[in-house]
């Protein structure tokens, strides 16, 4: 599976580097930047160029903000069958989950798997501590 990462400014490249720090090399991750001087059309072209047309059905796009320009550009491409799907909400846990599963699933399977676990991606200490105190003590 090919993963195209698109985020505001240079976040996509940074996410790829972060994934490699935790997971290891991800040759199938293709990060794209989005700068203030670019518009929807330009970004759409940039994303389209990064997709291997032979692998459209096996290409997932990750963007940062739902209904931001990267998402809107990606959504347009998916509607035109230039990529399989797009997920907004790019974060390190999301990217890692995708890196872990990309080799073993189709895009629809991976999307289903990721979307079922989104509650694992944001955590707060005070809530987690409350939860873990309900559990048993050491042996």
């Amino acid at each position: 599976m090919d993963i195209i990462l698109v985020g505001h400014a240079n976040t996509a490249q940074a996410f790829k580097e972060a994934v490699e720090m935790v997971f290891g090399k991800v040759e199938n991750f293709h990060p794209l930047s989005f700068s203030p001087s670019e518009g929807l059309e330009e970004l759409t072209k940039k994303i389209e160029t990064a997709i291997n047309p032979q692998k459209a059905e096996d290409t997932l796009i990750l963007t940062d903000l739902f209904s931001g320009t990267p998402y809107n550009a990606a959504a347009g491409l998916v509607m035109h069958h230039k990529a399989a799907d797009v997920i907004a909400g790019m974060s390190l846990p999301l990217c890692l989950e995708v890196a872990l599963s990309a080799g073993q699933m189709t895009v629809p399977e991976l999307v289903k798997h990721v979307m079922a676990n989104t509650n694992e991606y944001v955590k707060c200490l005070s809530e987690v501590v409350q939860e873990s105190q309900k559990e048993e003590d050491d042996f």
């Binding site: 720090m21 997971f23 676990n117 873990s132």
Partner: protein, 164 residues
Amino acid sequence: MIIKLARIDDRLIHGQVTTVWSKEANANRIIIVSQEVFNDPIRKQLLKQASPPGMKVNIVDVEKAIAVFNNPKYNDETVFYLFTNPSEALALIEGGVPIKTLNIGGMQFKDGKKQITKAVSLNEKDVAAFRKLAKLNVNLDLRVVKTDPTTNILTKIDETFGPE
């Protein structure tokens, strides 16, 4: 207890461990075997709250780890052992816990240690423990992330500390 994975990583539960190695281990529990952490209630609580989804985290000393391993109550439990250093891993193995492969992920640099790779620094005590582990036929797999190539830590030890 069924041993799924054993790793030395003095950051214990952190990104590489919660995402990749925990999934690789696919175990019910992470058991951290460390006298130092066992004696530190705040660190214990911090580690417990950081447990990966669906996994229990226990912090024990070597003695307790051996007792738990031999407790029939946990016969069917799968475990992922974490250590901060090779000496406690060696003590556990000498105590009868049959760890066949020990993954070495991270041991940070401190005064009195020599750096052998980007992520691993050792002192003489560590070196002696690794050499003893090798003599007990424990496979010593030096790998930070899963996709790194496997290196036997003894090769790196000999390069830095000289042959035994």
